[in-house]
Amino acid sequence: MAINKIGVLALTGALAAAVFTGCSSNNSDNSSASSPPAPGQSVAPKSEEVVDLEVWNGNNGFKPITKDSPLYNFYKEKLGVGVIQPYVEWNGGTNYLNQLNIKIAANEMPDLFLPLQGIEDNLAKNGAIADLTDLLPKYAPNVMQAIPQEVWDVVKANDPTGQGKIYYIPSVLNYGRETGLIRKDWLDKLGLEMPKTQDDYVKVLEAFRDKDPNGNGIKDEIPTGGREQAAWMDQLFAMYGVAMVEGKPDWDIYDGKLTYSAVTPNMKAALEFAAKLYKEGLMDKESLLNNKAKWEGKIDSNLVGNYFHWEESVNERLENINKNKGVKGDYSVLPILEVPGYKGFYTLKKMQTPAWVVKNTKDQTKLMATLKLLNNMYDKNNWNDLYLGVEGMHYTMQDGKATKLPDDKSTQQNLALSPYLNVATADFSINLYKNNTPDDRKWAVDQGIRNITDAQPYFKDIAGDGMPASVYEDYADINNRTLYVEYASKIILGQYPISKFDEFVDKWNKSGGEEVTQRARDWYAKVHK
């Protein structure tokens, strides 16, 4: 009987598969500590056995770190600890958080991991993550040193148990990284100066629109623009002193009090200005529809005069423009424009989200190994090596110079430990660019180096820096800025008159904004007492 045969076949197949996996799942434990640490490695004590730790942070499609794989061996040699990282996809953080939550619920918390969306608060309250207040200075002094004291003060103020303890290691950004960028070569071509005031800026945008700076004979230039959810157009808001990170309004002192920048008169004025630009065709008509790929595509097509992004990675756009259109452009830093009555700035948040928390465990070997890993990872002497990764996989040697290979998800393992991203300093970034760039790319990469220096005077560390996500608890819509995006988008598009802004402020306050503001101010008072 046909069905009968299929059934038998199926059962056999299942059995075969079971036998196969039974064999393959056991081979991971029998080869530990087989390769001795390389001689001359001071960080890796030779006598002790290497402890394996499970370390979780995001992965964007690269290969996992399995026992005895090249990256595992590299970390073991450099840092003296075995690092195992299963494949946990980042996917905007949602998937990562889901998997992490399940893992925690199953009582299998990773030894060291990146917490997300404030889960560290509850974990700390429940005693699930380690109190690092005494452990870090004693066993991981490099971590204490790499992060400025004022940041530690905020971490202590953020302790959810209210005892002023350190429960997480924050990421820190020591320099301003995101600014407005403008095609300096277009300005030169049209005989214009770098704009200083808002009026200059509007004139420049008009010239970009009308005078064909890309020289293709078509009026296809996009003077400025941004992306969906009214994001990535911070240059238009910065001049009004609106605290904002990649389009997300943030907290700063307005009128003497810590306030959400979206509900300030500054925001109202900025939206009015953006709406004016939109109406006059100075802003991309699709600004509120562009996704990342689409907006970058326009920039890469040699069409965009001014955009907002990382000042240091303009080379990505410039190299693409050169490839697509054969033009070697110049994206320079757009200064903060003077607007009467306002004090503008580009937003800097030194204290980023938490980078690591440590599992609270009775197993002293594991705990000590985790601290050792942290200590060696935050040792600046190791950073360049950690950045380069494994030779042949992540970089190659060209004429005695290490050159990073392009990302390749089918061959490269996830470079999970990147302290230079968690404690980013301008010097380190500049050095990376200088040391890892082949000559033929210098024209573009050097612009990024120049921009880092040029941009710094325009940054301000905002008062809301370091505020924990827990102030938004129970008010997810406020955290997701749902209402703001709706009103901002409609005002920019001209569907709402600017007078609607007051309605937005009112609604925002009533839908939880008041409560969140109160919590934010309480937090601020606690940090600055």
């Binding site: 069905i3 499609g61 199953a106 595509g297 990675s313 392009p406 980013a424």
Partner: protein
């Protein structure tokens, strides 16, 4: 034959409308196909709409050269075939006794089935249970959780219930037992319902995403859908001094498109042959369920 002018207009209108709909349905697909055959430069500049621009096979050769994608493909194909066969067997083995009035515990078991259909297990208990059985990070998880679906079981049970009693009585007189009855008489005469359910099961296993997402961490065992997402997941972290990708003639978007098409081809290939069973299957469920 069409008689009146009214009828002719009616048919013409319907045809136009349907053509329009199929056009609308096919445009996004065409766009994805053409992106997969276009150069990076054209795609980056948003030049590609329905036809490929700067035709190239680079994305495809990159995709087809990846052994891990093929591995996932065959893994998914294998688990679909084995899983479907197993699912049909198990479902039939439970549906048959449940369709018999003389089976004393049938009522109780049926209530259990309905409860399982209505109340899905919450994610964490489900996770703990499946892990407790030893299916965590075990490729069998691609098959075992799918082999009995209460809804499909009810469809099959209803079908068996309609089976002519006389035929079975005759068989029993011949000295046949229930097992022989099921495998020698009932199943061979149930091809319609088997084909329908096979399709239901196969589609679920082929497209499965949530289960492997929860239970598989070893990338070696990733089924196709997970592998695809691994391909298309976006890098939002910008690495300082990252290597230049300017010289590559593909990027994430072209690779993504090629991968999506790659995963669709098998389904598209078999669908026309099996589509009619889908319709039939829905009928079985609705009339007799």
């Amino acid at each position: 034959m069409l008689k009146t002018r009214g009828e002719k207009t009616f048919v013409a209108a319907i045809t136009t409308l349907l053509l329009l709909f199929s056009f609308i349905a096919i445009v996004p697909l065409l766009s994805v196909i053409s992106i997969s055959f276009s150069s990076k430069s054209a795609v980056v500049q948003n030049l590609v709409s329905i036809w490929p621009k700067q035709f190239t096979l680079d994305s495809w050769s990159y995709i087809l050269d990846r052994p891990d994608l093929w591995k996932s493909f065959f893994l998914t194909l294998g688990s679909t075939v084995i899983g479907t066969a197993l699912a049909l067997l198990i479902t039939a083995l439970l549906a048959y006794p449940l369709s018999k009035v003389e089976f004393r515990w049938g009522g109780v078991i049926m209530v259990g089935v309905v409860i399982a259909m209505i109340f899905k297990a919450p994610i964490i208990p489900y996770f703990l249970t499946v892990r407790g059985i030893g299916l965590y990070n075990n490729p069998l998880v691609l098959i075992l959780p799918h082999i009995l679906n209460p809804f499909n079981l009810i469809i099959m049970r209803s079908f068996f219930k309609e089976f002519p009693k006389e035929l079975e009585e005759a068989a029993f007189l011949e000295g046949s037992g229930y097992f022989r009855m099921l495998f020698q008489f009932v199943l061979p005469l149930s091809k319609a319902v088997l084909a329908t359910l096979a399709l239901f099961y196969a589609v679920v296993i082929w497209n499965q995403f949530q289960t492997p997402l929860l239970f598989l961490q070893n990338t070696d065992w990733f089924p196709l859908q997970m592998k695809i997402r691994q391909f298309i997941t976006d890098d939002n972290i910008i690495m300082p001094g990252a290597a230049s990708t300017v010289d590559l003639n593909y990027n994430e978007r072209t690779l993504r498109s090629a991968t999506v098409i790659f995963a669709m081809i098998p389904i598209i290939a078999v669908y026309p042959f099996l589509q009619r069973y889908f319709v039939k299957g829905a009928m079985i469920g609705s009339i007799k369920g």
